[in-house]
């Protein structure tokens, strides 16, 4: 209806304008929905692979090992050790004992060792969660037919053991502990080095540097470096940190020499490489945060007779800190999920012992995922999915920290 009498011209015009607006609105909504669907598919497929039935066969079923009327699970270590001794080679038995004297073993350890050393379970086939739930009966029949000695077991691939156990060749007992520790080591190195350098550089560029030609060249280069593909940083890390600085990164010059490790392919090299990778992003984020501090605040400070440093330290930084932290933490989460440069730098894909210093060989969660997905066996696919969930949880935790810090500091300033 037109507003004032007969103005058909205005009315048609208005309708067309509203129509155009509606079309755009629909496009925006559709884009959002597509993004949400993509995310949902990703999450569902990961969770789908992290749980589900597995057909497991044993070399000697645990039920045959236990004396009649008893089950292995309830037997004590004193009863379990002889079974172990009976069924493994003398060499293996001595090896197990030398790793940790039997007297110190808990019942659970005894049980698990007997199962894995003697029964030797093997995941023949695995099925995804949705498939498992839908075709449970068919699967039972199928396993009975295909693997007469096997059992059908519902596996939670993501469980406490998975997080606390080290890497193993057997997907049934492989865990991600070494990778988690490796990732955390590297992230700490990145934070310790990239934060101070990046923030200091940002302060210099924003507050001190004069607007000269050199300044513009530096700024352009930082922006370009932020867009350089990560694999190239990996090459740089390999050439410089691993090769040139080997005495440093492998710890020789600190008297840390363990011939079995790393030749420069250490946590330190990886941390330094990822530091270089995120440094431009940290600088740019911190610069943006510093730029966002209103100039009136700087003027107020100078107007009181404050020096440049007093102004920066007392006003610019406290007001920029939430932005700086948000930006830098998000770049750290980028480093956390980074794979390619670490492969080039020489992350070991198979590390069963925890790194004990920054000069150790290492693996990280993304590397572990990459390695597992490359394996042909079904079960590796499942533990890779479980590892992805662990990785996502870490990333969410980092992002949540960023949000928390931002809210906390911006509230303090009100």
């Amino acid at each position: 209806m037109s507003l004032q009498g007969n103005q058909p011209q205005l009315q048609t015009n208005l309708n067309a304008r509203h129509r155009r607006g509606k079309i755009w609105r629909i496009i925006f909504i559709a884009s959002t929905i597509i993004a949400i669907i993509a995310l949902a598919i990703l999450l569902i497929s990961i969770i789908d692979d992290s749980f589900g039935y597995a057909a497991i066969t044993y070399k000697i079923p645990p039920s045959q090992l236990a004396p009649a009327g008893k089950s292995l699970e309830t037997m004590s270590c004193e009863e379990l050790i002889p079974i172990l001794e009976e069924n493994v080679s003398p060499n293996r038995f001595r090896q197990l004992q030398s790793e940790k004297p039997f007297t110190e073993w808990s019942q659970e350890e005894c049980y698990e060792t007997v199962v894995f050393e003697v029964s030797q379970p093997k995941a023949e086939e695995t099925w995804s969660l949705i498939y498992s739930l839908r075709y449970a009966n068919e699967l039972a029949a199928y396993v009975e037919q295909e693997y007469p000695d096997g059992i059908l077991e519902f596996k939670q691939w993501l469980n406490i053991d998975f997080i606390t156990q080290p890497q193993s060749k057997d997907p049934l007992i492989a865990g991600i502990r070494t990778a988690i520790i490796g990732s955390l080591y590297i992230i700490i190195i990145v934070i310790v080095i990239a934060f101070p350098i990046g923030i200091a550089a940002a302060i210099y560029l924003e507050e001190y540097a004069s607007q000269s030609r050199i300044h513009r060249i530096i700024q352009t280069n930082i922006n370009n470096l932020a867009g350089v593909p990560s694999i190239i940083y990996g090459m740089l890390g390999l050439a410089f940190f691993v090769r040139v600085l080997e005495p440093l990164t492998s710890g020789y010059i600190f008297g840390y020499s363990n011939e079995a490790t790393a030749n420069g392919r250490t946590i330190l090299s990886a941390g330094l490489t990822l530091t270089l990778l995120i440094l431009p992003v940290v600088i740019i984020n911190a610069q943006e945060a510093i730029k966002a501090v209103p100039n009136s605040l700087r003027e107020a400070s100078y107007g009181m007779g404050a020096t440049k440093w007093q102004t920066v330290w007392n006003h610019v930084l406290p007001n920029a800190v939430s932005g700086i932290l948000t930006g830098t933490i998000l770049s750290v989460s980028r480093a956390f999920g980074e794979t390619a440069p670490l492969i080039v730098v020489g992350a070991s894909t198979y590390v069963t012992f925890d790194p004990d210093s920054i000069f150790s060989k290492f693996t990280t969660i993304p590397i572990q995922i990459y390695q597992w997905t490359a394996r042909p066996q079904d079960a590796y696919k499942n533990i890779a999915a479980a590892a992805i969930i662990v990785l996502l949880i870490f990333l969410l935790a980092l992002n949540a920290t960023a949000i928390y810090l931002r809210n906390r500091y911006s509230r303090r300033l009100q």
Binding site: E299, Y302, G303, M304, G305, A306, T307, N314
Partner: protein
Amino acid sequence: MSINIKLATDQFTPTTPTETSNGRFAVEATNLHVYYGNFLAVKEVNLKVETQKITAMIGPSGCGKSTVLRAFNRMNDLVPIARTEGEVLFHGQNIYAEGVDPVEVRKHVGMVFQKPNPFPKSIYENIAWGVRINGFKGKKLDMDDVVVESLKDAALWDEVHDKLQQSGLSLSGGQQQRLCIARAVAVKPDIILMDEPCSALDPISTLKIEELMRDLSKHYTIIIVTHNMQQAARVSDYTAFFTLDENRAGYLMESGQTNQIFMNPKEKVTEDYITGRFG
């Protein structure tokens, strides 16, 4: 009021008004030119500002009055492309002379800005901070005294005495501006520059600030830039009228006692501007 502010450096120690022969003038600008890059923003300003009086600078937009004001405490130094020529004497000493630290100039020549810009800190800290960075080494109780005195000087004490730990940003616009004045007063400057201090405020807050300026002028020299002709007429003792030439360079048209400028201007342009015929 006993405050003991020790200066970090002593290379710039202006003599007090009573000690100098030309103590009548707090600021004397001689042949002042300010450039922004190649652009001449202000030319040939010769202006004497009387001590412990209020001097208003008026003129159309872009005539360089704010630039001149900011030349008096070297705030233009913060603009990378700005360049200043000529002399600005502060109680007889040129603040643009070699070896003069602008940081110290600003301690003696405080400033209040167009938009209230309290620090995002508590009301107490807003005032204490400036005193502290200027080398205050006293006890907490002395600092409390400084804060209370400054707030009283800025006619803000009655309104905020029970909420000193609240954020300065929680105050109303007019209160924030008075907090900025209190903050400036706290470091005991000789001169307070005010760059359109009331342009963001309502009439009641404006009135309060004007009354406050009258009070402060008993102890301080105040220079105020304003677009509000009535304000200049109401509050100031002296008025300087700026305008711009055909190259958009601002210059001082005429200055004198406010009565004379408003009642009996020498220049036609001044009269036209004041009576609202242009600008």
